[in-house]
């Protein structure tokens, strides 16, 4: 049985205090502060199945929240021209999200549906704990303008950087796995809880928004808290050692949250962020035939410890200049070098990716890889330049192919004081 999350005032929840023993404190930039109860640490660094994260808050949950182990991501096309219907959907979604993230079914607080009608909640998460579920909502560029049309009277409020991402070298994007008017990132420590959340939101959306594509993910490939161990991606290497974590408060402000004044037309996005989604297919069969020497050279780290090839341990800063017999120890085309802040104007990135396996392709190869998710303050400065460089120069690209893509503006959190707040309120009111 789950308890209701305590009244949400400035984020210090009753259960957060009660569970202070194992609590992971998440410092949020603009003074917001959230505590999560760690009921039972599962050892992998996720917070345990009893954990709940409040839906309402200064920022949306699911960004700085310690990365959960499972993902269900969905992109939607809005199928109506009615602004009122879109607003009603965002309100309904927010109410449902608040229920589900608290471990309660959709429609809790309302009378049960009549026996002769279908239940409000689809039911597969009944009796399951909240499992640290977070639901994070974003708006794609086509919500603001599509085919030259100002669909919902918000064209003038489109943030300048919110555009369909450019074509990067070697991209092989499937339109059926790319873009969308709306997106929802559902993360949880139980896949059934994440799938339940997206299924119910999609059901609420029928008639207003239709699912365009979705992606299941497992095995978080990044840590967003120093309390978490660094996980491995399907290449077998630790991924996200240098990831921006919630403990780097000033870097979080610099590289994650949109600040007032960033974009005159889009002050509604203050306290929000941009979500970059990339479905990156990994050619695992050929990777697995590659010598360990080459694998490590391509990554720029050793496989066992995750230490940079320039020496030290996992968290030792790589020395990009240290020379060996035949050039730098961290090769010029190594992933670690090209993604390093010193090569990218000091940029750090908060990544939240997941591994995926979607069966096999027609040739019998695993259709598997990394579903890359990152939250950035300005994609024009903090994502596109780096990805352009990686796509051109990264030696790993021989084993990678980007097959899906999306850029979404992530509005700030819902009103944390008055719990009637809904996602997107600052944009539509």
């Amino acid at each position: 049985m789950t308890e209701p999350s305590a009244p949400h005032t400035r984020g210090v929840s009753r259960r957060g205090l009660l569970g202070a023993a194992g609590a992971l404190s998440v410092g949020a930039g603009a003074g917001g502060f959230a505590l999560a109860r760690a009921a039972a640490d599962d050892g992998a660094g996720t917070a345990g199945k009893g954990t709940t994260y409040p839906f309402h808050g200064t920022h949306q949950a699911g960004i700085l929240t310690p990365a959960q182990d499972r993902l269900h991501f969905a992109a939607f096309d809005v199928t109506t021209d009615s602004r009122a219907a879109l607003v009603a959907l965002l309100q309904e979604w927010s109410a449902a999200a608040a229920s589900m993230t608290a471990g309660q079914p959709v429609g809790s607080g309302e009378p049960p549906a009549p026996y002769d009608g279908p239940p409000a909640d689809t039911g597969e998460a009944l009796g399951l704990p909240a499992s640290g579920l977070t639901l994070t909502f974003g708006f794609g560029p086509t919500l603001f303008e599509k085919d030259g049309r100002d669909r919902f009277g918000i064209r003038a409020r489109r943030p300048e950087p919110l555009r369909v991402l450019p074509h990067f070298p070697a991209d092989n994007l499937d339109p059926a796995r790319s873009n969308g008017d709306l997106c929802v990132q559902a993360c949880a420590d139980d896949p059934q809880v994440a799938v339940h959340a997206i299924r119910n939101l999609a059901r609420i959306g029928f008639g207003t928004a239709a699912m365009r594509w979705s992606q299941l993910g497992f095995g978080r490939t990044s840590s967003t808290s120093t309390a978490q161990t660094t996980p491995r991606n399907l290449f077998g290497f630790k991924d996200g050692t240098a990831n921006l974590t919630s403990q780097d408060a000033s870097d979080v402000d610099d590289f994650v949250w949109v600040d007032r004044g960033d974009d005159g037309a889009a002050d509604w996005l203050t306290g929000g962020s941009y979500l970059v989604a990339r479905r990156i297919r990994m050619h695992l069969e050929t990777w697995d035939r590659t010598s360990l020497r080459e694998q490590e050279a391509l990554v720029g780290r050793d496989r066992t410890e995750g230490a940079p090839l320039s020496g030290g341990t996992e968290f030792t800063e790589p020395d990009l200049d240290l020379e060996g017999n035949d050039g730098p120890l961290v090769p010029l085309d190594a992933h670690v070098r090209l993604a390093h802040p010193s090569v990218n104007g000091g940029t750090r990135m908060l990544r939240r990716g997941y591994s995926f396996t979607d069966g096999v392709d027609d040739l019998g190869r695993l259709d598997a890889g990394l579903f890359f998710l990152a939250f950035v303050r300005d994609p024009d400065r903090h994502y596109i330049p780096m990805q352009t460089r990686l796509s051109q120069q990264d030696g790993l690209m021989e084993y990678l192919q980007h097959t899906g893509s999306g850029l979404f503006a992530v509005p700030p959190g819902t009103d944390s004081v008055n719990r009637g707040g809904w996602v997107g309120e600052s944009l539509f009111s």
Partner: protein, 386 residues
């Protein structure tokens, strides 16, 4: 689980309208009152004998050893306001009512017989009952009679159109038979959920080749369809004699259907669920192009399913208008939206393009529109019977 606990706790202290689910994260709280009912073999305990008007939830738990029922009657103890039947021992089932202020009689009937164990029950005026109206029996009768007429009419047209189609088919006029095939099937598809309710007729008449079980003989519409739109290779056309046999068989089964619907009567929930069921047929069979895999005339069937669903809805619309006008409006608007999408694929007055020319993106558009309609439609029956 939490909801029940809070609801139960507040039912005890219930004195006015809003049961205080203030801790809920949900939208505006609509629970006006919850009454827990414990039915045992010799007792019927209600957590309160007074509740505010509006939505009232009776959580009926069978704590006895016999199957029980729970009824709420009007103050005359005769008029049934609401009921839950067939509650097995140990089970809990909700009865949701929209109750106007007044006196009522609540009754548990362990063993499902007799007068039951009765208690007086009062619904006080919470100020929340302005919209509560009943539906008259006359309105219900009108709706159910109209629908029964519609089914009979379609069955009768099905007999005639099928006869025309089969005449062309028997005589070897294949072009004419191909023209008439989808037009005859329209009348089947409009009442498909009724036809399917006859479990013996449906497989003889409308089975697709892919659904065949080993050892079963394939007959009916789709057997003739394959003969009229044969695959390029590996198909042996039916002889004239075989054609006659299959045609007689189909005509015979259609005649049986026609006679069976003659005395058929319908209830509101059968009509409502039938309407939703027709759209489920669209969603699983027609959208995918699996129904008419040889002729690709799926859009005729699609339209006919939608026609039937719409007639069922429009018959119930006056009842729904009383109970939930907003839902009625939404359903009507979404029927219109779906129809305008379908109309994009029309050819001539009563025809449609071949479904194999409909692109994946167009099919997704149709599928989205079907989902958009089916979701609110699935709530219609519950809303009316509430």
């Amino acid at each position: 689980m939490r909801l029940q606990l809070v609801a139960a706790a507040c039912a005890v202290a219930l004195s006015s309208t809003a049961c205080g689910l203030t801790e809920s994260n949900g939208p505006s709280v609509a629970t006006d009152g919850t009454v827990t009912v414990t039915s045992t073999d010799d007792a019927c305990e209600l957590s309160t004998d007074q509740v505010g008007s509006g939505n009232v939830v009776f959580e009926v738990t069978n704590a006895g050893n016999q199957v029980t029922e729970f009824y709420v009657y009007g103050d005359d103890g005769l008029r049934i306001v609401g009921e839950v039947e067939n509650v097995g021992p140990g089970l809990t089932r909700d009865l949701v009512l929209r109750a106007a202020p007044g006196s009522y009689v609540a009754s548990c009937r362990p063993g499902m017989s007799g007068e039951g164990i009765r208690h007086g029950f009062t619904v006080t005026d919470s100020g929340d009952d302005a919209a509560i109206q009943g539906v008259t029996q006359a309105a219900i009768d009108t709706a159910t009679d109209q629908y029964a007429d519609y089914v009979r009419d379609q069955a009768s047209q099905l007999v005639d159109r099928t006869a025309e189609f089969l005449a062309a088919y028997r005589s070897g006029d294949d072009d004419e038979a191909r023209r008439l095939f989808p037009l005859a099937r329209v009348h089947w598809e409009r009442i498909e959920t009724v036809a399917e309710s006859f479990g013996d007729l449906d497989p003889l008449t409308d089975l697709r080749e892919a659904d065949l079980e080993p050892g079963h003989k394939w007959t009916g519409w789709h057997r003739l369809e394959k003969d009229l739109w044969p695959p390029a290779k590996g198909y042996t056309p039916l002889t004239d004699a075989e054609r006659a046999t299959y045609a007689d068989d189909l005509a015979g089964n259609i005649a049986i259907l026609d006679s069976r619907v003659e005395d058929l009567e319908f209830t509101v929930d059968q009509i409502g669920n039938g309407s939703k069921g027709l759209l489920d047929e669209v969603a699983t069979g027609k959208i995918t192009g699996e129904e008419d895999i040889w002729s690709h005339t799926d859009l005729y069937d699609f339209q006919a399913n939608v026609d039937g669903a719409r007639v069922a809805f429009e018959g119930l619309e006056p009842l729904l208008e009383v109970k939930d006008p907003e839902l009625a409006k939404t359903i009507a608007a979404r029927f219109t939206a779906l129809q305008s999408l379908l109309d994009e694929h029309r050819v001539g007055e009563d025809g449609f393009v071949s479904y194999d020319t409909v692109t994946t993106a167009q099919r997704k558009g149709l599928s989205d529109a079907v989902n958009a309609l089916s979701e609110p439609l699935s709530r219609m029956t519950g809303a009316i019977t509430l």
